[in-house]
Symmetry: C3
Subunit: 417 residues, 3 copies
Amino acid sequence: MLQCGYSIVFGSRNPRMSSLLPNSAEVLSYSEAAQKSDIIIIAIHREHYDFLTELTEVLNGKILVDVSNNLKIKQYPESNAEYLAHLVPGAHVVKAFNTISAWALQSRALDASRQVFVCGNDSKAKQRVMDIVRSLGLTPLDKGSLMAAKEIENYPLQLFPMWKFPFYLSAVLCVFFFFYCVIREVIYPYVYEKKDRTFRLAISIPNRVFPIAALTLLALVYLPGVIAAILQLYRGTKYRRFPDWLDHWMLCRKQLGLIALGFAFLHVLYTLVIPIRYYVRWTWTNRTIAQAIAKKESPFSTSTAWLSDSYVAMGMLGFFLFVLLGITSLPSVSNMVNWREFRFVQSKLGYLTLILCTAHTLVYGGKRFLSPSILVWYLPSAYVIALIIPCTVLVIKFILILPCIDKTLTRIRKGWE
Amino acid sequence: MLQCGYSIVFGSRNPRMSSLLPNSAEVLSYSEAAQKSDIIIIAIHREHYDFLTELTEVLNGKILVDVSNNLKIKQYPESNAEYLAHLVPGAHVVKAFNTISAWALQSRALDASRQVFVCGNDSKAKQRVMDIVRSLGLTPLDKGSLMAAKEIENYPLQLFPMWKFPFYLSAVLCVFFFFYCVIREVIYPYVYEKKDRTFRLAISIPNRVFPIAALTLLALVYLPGVIAAILQLYRGTKYRRFPDWLDHWMLCRKQLGLIALGFAFLHVLYTLVIPIRYYVRWTWTNRTIAQAIAKKESPFSTSTAWLSDSYVAMGMLGFFLFVLLGITSLPSVSNMVNWREFRFVQSKLGYLTLILCTAHTLVYGGKRFLSPSILVWYLPSAYVIALIIPCTVLVIKFILILPCIDKTLTRIRKGWE
Amino acid sequence: MLQCGYSIVFGSRNPRMSSLLPNSAEVLSYSEAAQKSDIIIIAIHREHYDFLTELTEVLNGKILVDVSNNLKIKQYPESNAEYLAHLVPGAHVVKAFNTISAWALQSRALDASRQVFVCGNDSKAKQRVMDIVRSLGLTPLDKGSLMAAKEIENYPLQLFPMWKFPFYLSAVLCVFFFFYCVIREVIYPYVYEKKDRTFRLAISIPNRVFPIAALTLLALVYLPGVIAAILQLYRGTKYRRFPDWLDHWMLCRKQLGLIALGFAFLHVLYTLVIPIRYYVRWTWTNRTIAQAIAKKESPFSTSTAWLSDSYVAMGMLGFFLFVLLGITSLPSVSNMVNWREFRFVQSKLGYLTLILCTAHTLVYGGKRFLSPSILVWYLPSAYVIALIIPCTVLVIKFILILPCIDKTLTRIRKGWE
Ligand SMILES: Cc1cc2nc3c(=O)[nH]c(=O)nc-3n(C[C@H](O)[C@H](O)[C@H](O)COP(=O)(O)OP(=O)(O)OC[C@H]3O[C@@H](n4cnc5c(N)ncnc54)[C@H](O)[C@@H]3O)c2cc1C
Ligand SMILES: Cc1cc2nc3c(=O)[nH]c(=O)nc-3n(C[C@H](O)[C@H](O)[C@H](O)COP(=O)(O)OP(=O)(O)OC[C@H]3O[C@@H](n4cnc5c(N)ncnc54)[C@H](O)[C@@H]3O)c2cc1C
Ligand SMILES: Cc1cc2nc3c(=O)[nH]c(=O)nc-3n(C[C@H](O)[C@H](O)[C@H](O)COP(=O)(O)OP(=O)(O)OC[C@H]3O[C@@H](n4cnc5c(N)ncnc54)[C@H](O)[C@@H]3O)c2cc1C
Ligand SMILES: NC(=O)c1ccc[n+]([C@@H]2O[C@H](COP(=O)([O-])OP(=O)(O)OC[C@H]3O[C@@H](n4cnc5c(N)ncnc54)[C@H](OP(=O)(O)O)[C@@H]3O)[C@@H](O)[C@H]2O)c1
Ligand SMILES: NC(=O)c1ccc[n+]([C@@H]2O[C@H](COP(=O)([O-])OP(=O)(O)OC[C@H]3O[C@@H](n4cnc5c(N)ncnc54)[C@H](OP(=O)(O)O)[C@@H]3O)[C@@H](O)[C@H]2O)c1
Ligand SMILES: NC(=O)c1ccc[n+]([C@@H]2O[C@H](COP(=O)([O-])OP(=O)(O)OC[C@H]3O[C@@H](n4cnc5c(N)ncnc54)[C@H](OP(=O)(O)O)[C@@H]3O)[C@@H](O)[C@H]2O)c1
Ligand SMILES: CCCCCCCCCCCCCCCC(=O)OC[C@H](COP(=O)(O)O)OC(=O)CCCCCCCCCCCCCCC
Ligand SMILES: CCCCCCCCCCCCCCCC(=O)OC[C@H](COP(=O)(O)O)OC(=O)CCCCCCCCCCCCCCC
Ligand SMILES: CCCCCCCCCCCCCCCC(=O)OC[C@H](COP(=O)(O)O)OC(=O)CCCCCCCCCCCCCCC
Ligand code: HEM
Ligand code: HEM
Ligand code: HEM
């Protein structure tokens, strides 16, 4: 990687990156190299930095580019770049390039971010490094003084930090509802009717768990906004910070929403394959055969047709809007719309999605809802539990948009107290 | 918001944005603040600007950043920034930041556009403001002189301006075809056969309306190109502007196409749930039972199998290409392709999509097409009407690409007359 | 287009682009125009460049912007811009704008790339041209010296260069498997049972070909990484270039993967319409009628239910991850993630996708796998052949991640020898 203990004579456009030393590169000793070059890329691990102390004189006034990364977040108290600046006080230390994979750069397959975060105390040195970045076809992003180095060094070690909480939350939801349904639909029939229903684990039960998780997560996207509004109403001002948990929750609504979309997508797939499943076909066929043998046709019920068609229709429209929300979260699309448009889609259409999905579940429940037969070991159907949060959010939101309350809220948000 | 009647001592990176006044911020009277600062952000409503006239002297040579917005488009004859420049002639007025939501900035949840439009007459002042924008992690976009302020002030008030015409057009189409189908499929059976078919309103009729809207809109995407070609042929030159309506129509083809994609997506969803609908299953089951009781199996018709399979296959391929067109309209994808590639996808594959979708509908109509039984109250099936525009477009396009005409057209477009 | 034999007086923001000559434009003779202007856009075909030799004196010190394109790649030995620089040695030649469609610019419908590649030997001239580019609302991209002009001139002539190999490969795969299946499923029944199965050409056979192509291409995405690893292990170093074919293969993995996603999408569509196909419904109905007439219900087999449900479930999960891989390849999304996150999704989730899809096919094959009845004219089922590459890749990968081998490999990739 970024070999730079060796000075490299500048020939082609990105020779200093090349690890297959090109012919035009001179290989010199450290101090010689340091003397000859103006900009020195320090591509060695932090542990070996101390040998640079011997070169402090030679390095005086030179630009040192620190590209190092650590193996863990919080491995050292100070950032590598600050440590380097401390070791070689005369040099202008600039932190850069650490987020870029040298291998990807070299093999021209660079698909992840092309942004190079740059920071440093000397703005001229920073400018020169940013020019190099640009000449390599990458985009420099100035992050300010060397104090930002810590953040920059942590960046490549992160693995979806904002997705962690939504991910764990949805994992917990899934596991809970999975076991809940297993108890109701596999263990109960086994205990009481000695029926082997384990095959339901593959599709039927996931197709309860996924939509429930989707609906719950979707409601949890809109819950913090509602809580924030209540808090602002209660406090009568917007000039006080929300509690930390609420703040964090509001910041990961996008991630919650996208995970909800993922579950909804799975629900749709799982629903659409219903008619090609062996179990379902077997049931339908046998019911038909039984009726044919008994020579009686079932009568047509218009109300059932209405209910069945309308819950499916609401599900489909809800899913369509859901996908639209997903599309507008794509960075390139959200970058094209102004704030008012973004809010219109995310907030207005988002609530419409929530309403449609909740209605879909309510109508699906339909008559079954209150019949006692749905209680199994005193446990209600899973979707009944799933409806609690969405309905709560919708009811509170409905209250909040009543003209009188809405006016007070708008005033508070405008800063009038 | 952008509190700036108060001058703020510069400490952290974006303190002047903070409405929860940080400790490091000094609160001074207006004139004191104005004296101390160099760049002054005017975050007050236009109505209160007049008090600034008192400060004209202090403001001489200072940079005034106007961030104000109005409540309606065309509220005032001149833009706020120009009004401000008029009030304080000695200052360098720069318009900026008005498109950014202060709340979103503060809560770090900025997802809509990060572009900050900047305009102003003094290029040095503009440069300094753009530096501040950059240091806040946003992207400045220079829009030129203060004359552009009007456009910049209108921008955040817009709500999908280019989508308006396509949206209304498709609403009209939907409503028309909806009532058309209701008459044929709900009212007619009710009047003549006293059958209650209202449940068809939920899925069956939307699944006629959506694909028809999709097909018509898709044809309307390619119609203006064809009209433009005829116009150019007729005029014999490309150096004359198209009439305004054609120009506007050509500019909103993308939006028309995406709405068509939305309808096609809904059609596909509505089609795929067909087998899980109660009504459909009831019909199939009862037909089977009737046959079983009558002890006769229906014979297999290869030609029906061919027709049925091929219209569905064409629909699926058409939809696939449709989605591809959608993907290439994503700003980030279209930004990666060159003009020739974009045209190849949008124009060539676009026509292929249109051909496949039209053929899908034609073959679906199949034999039923000409049978008189499809006339209900002298109204033909809805898809017959839907086919008119697509077929016209395809026929004209076919004529236009005949070698002789194509050559003339190419010449005209090359500027040879 | 870019009329510039005529000098144009600068009035509005992009007058020099306008081909409908605005009133404010003066039309002068070439030499007069050249004298008056500072920056001259040469919008004439290369063949006519020679007349410029007469103007060499006038053009001395001026900036010449070469916007020309050729009709074919490699039409001339040297680039047009270099040729121009050679003709007019005193002028500063800058190559720019050739990638932009003048027509699209003029009609404000510019949707393809807004990047303008700029190159030139004089950096001040380049800077001025880049300013013009920016003022037109486009993004300039500095490509270095005039040597880059060749590349820039070839760019707009390209038609998806990286997609060529994947496209041809998949075409070959499709054609091969198509005929393979036609032989097994259309010709064989016709020859031996005189049955007309040609209708299978529309959906049934494509629904074998598409998933097989998807699976094979997906495996081919991960094969080069495995080969590279073996090569590195064998050589014991990473400091030697891979053979060219491997290099090229590694660079078009993204395209291979996306095409595989396209096929998988088609497979899913083709699978979901199964229950609404006439042929399938006819089969199901008749089987039911036959059973009803015989008055026997088929028994329920839990193991079949398990197998059927689990292969479908694996397919759906595989497809879900597949779509996720697709979403992270969108330029705007991949630009938001760091290298570690991108590798996590593409490499870890990618292998998971491959495992799920392979398992899906394996379980689908299930018992049928080894039964001799699947051999038709000694040809095994198509999916058996399709499984060869994926299984090989997975087995080798499994060996490579055994701790001992993995350690050696990691060392080699770290540069320790
Ligand atoms: C599929 C999907 C994708 C999503 N993608 C995104 C995404 O890309 N980006 C994203 O942010 N969200 C995304 N979300 C989450 C969600 O849609 C949005 O956060 C949405 O804006 C929330 O709407 P809201 O009306 O509840 O909240 P908000 O619009 O945030 O309003 C509620 C709260 O905002 C605060 N507020 C608003 N305006 C002001 C003001 N002027 N002054 C003070 N306080 C104010 C108040 O505290 C108020 O209580 C996504 C959701 C889904 C389902
Ligand atoms: C799902 C979907 C997504 C879409 N997304 C987009 C999108 O993102 N962006 C977009 O623009 N469109 C989009 N469209 C619309 C459509 O596909 C394109 O506009 C397409 O390019 C139209 O092709 P065409 O051949 O009819 O028209 P054109 O390519 O525009 O050609 C027809 C007319 O163009 C003019 N013309 C072309 N070249 C020249 C020239 N050299 N000189 C003078 N005149 C010339 C002529 O007037 C000619 O009559 C989308 C459509 C769909 C269905
Ligand atoms: C739908 C879909 C979309 C896709 N989109 C993309 C895309 O957008 N971009 C993309 O690139 N790919 C894409 N792919 C292809 C594929 O997922 C990726 O290329 C993936 O990273 C390959 O993983 P791998 O583990 O096999 O290979 P790699 O991660 O490349 O690892 C294997 C080889 O990489 C080399 N290597 C890795 N690290 C080092 C190192 N430090 N030093 C030296 N050599 C090293 C070694 O030669 C090693 O043998 C896509 C695939 C699919 C199916
Ligand atoms: N690989 C990447 O993609 C990438 C990307 C960005 C940042 N980084 C960071 O760059 C740094 C270096 O990574 P690397 O992969 O290049 O490491 P490496 O392959 O281990 O090489 C480090 C270099 O350090 C020198 N070195 C080793 N021990 C030394 C000692 N005791 N004293 C002086 N010099 C010594 C060696 O040079 P000589 O043997 O020639 O003296 C060697 O070339 C790390 O902090 C890494 O996080 C890597
Ligand atoms: N909110 C946003 O997201 C946003 C984004 C971009 C642009 N804008 C625009 O910025 C402008 C201000 O919006 P805002 O939300 O900040 O408004 P605001 O909350 O109503 O506050 C405006 C400020 O103006 C001062 N003020 C009020 N009356 C005044 C008077 N008669 N004379 C002098 N000063 C007076 C007040 O300062 P003191 O009480 O301290 O004197 C107050 O802090 C609007 O034009 C808005 O469109 C807002
Ligand atoms: N069209 C595009 O979208 C686009 C985009 C980028 C680059 N380009 C490139 O720009 C170049 C010009 O394309 P174009 O479409 O503008 O071509 P064009 O329409 O054929 O016009 C070229 C100009 O060259 C002049 N000309 C013709 N013969 C000449 C001769 N013998 N001596 C001197 N001048 C002569 C004519 O000017 P007078 O009759 O007034 O003397 C004419 O205006 C091409 O290389 C093209 O590849 C085009
Ligand atoms: C048919 C419907 C298909 C929908 C399928 C979708 C499932 C989506 C599930 C979640 C996707 C998460 C992506 C994660 C990537 C990531 O980590 O991305 C990480 C980045 C950066 O995240 P942070 O800013 O949080 O660090 O996130 C993004 O940039 C978010 C972009 C998300 C885009 C989601 C787009 C969904 C699009 C649906 C579009 C298409 C429609 C199709 C229609 C049929
Ligand atoms: C399975 C298929 C799924 C397809 C589902 C799609 C429905 C799409 C309906 C229209 C979408 C409109 C978005 C509007 C956002 C907006 O207002 O966006 C507004 C911006 C700015 O618009 P203006 O420039 O006109 O102001 O528009 C855009 O940037 C357009 C981007 C549109 C991207 C559409 C992408 C469709 C993608 C399909 C991809 C995925 C594939 C999936 C496959 C299965
Ligand atoms: C429901 C699933 C739907 C999936 C449907 C997808 C089929 C995709 C087939 C391949 C697409 C290729 C696009 C080619 C454009 C091009 O040439 O693009 C060319 C550019 C530039 O290519 P080069 O860099 O190779 O020159 O490529 C790209 O920028 C690649 C972007 C590809 C994005 C693919 C996104 C797939 C997204 C799926 C998302 C949505 C999900 C939906 C869910 C349901
Ligand atoms: C195309 C769109 C959709 C269709 C066709 C659809 C269809 C269905 C069907 C058929 C059921 C009954 C499942 C069963 O019998 O086990 C169901 C249940 C359910 N759906 Fe949907 N749905 C769609 C979208 C959605 C969306 C977007 C959500 C919400 C986020 C959702 C939430 C639910 C819930 C919570 C249940 C109840 C789960 C249970 O307990 O069984 N659906 N849906
Ligand atoms: C996956 C892709 C598709 C499938 C499986 C499909 C399937 C079908 C089916 C089964 C019908 C008959 C509906 C009925 O009986 O009421 C139909 C009708 C129709 N389809 Fe599609 N289709 C697809 C895509 C498309 C697309 C992309 C378009 C065009 C834009 C389209 C346009 C139409 C039209 C216009 C009709 C006639 C509507 C009517 O009057 O009933 N289809 N399609
Ligand atoms: C929603 C997701 C999926 C579903 C519901 C699904 C369903 C099916 C079904 C029902 C079959 C049997 C087809 C037949 O009877 O002719 C099948 C076959 C197959 N599937 Fe999938 N599949 C899915 C995704 C995938 C994916 C992502 C791949 C791989 C890339 C894949 C690869 C295959 C292969 C190779 C076959 C065997 C083809 C043959 O020879 O018939 N499937 N799939």
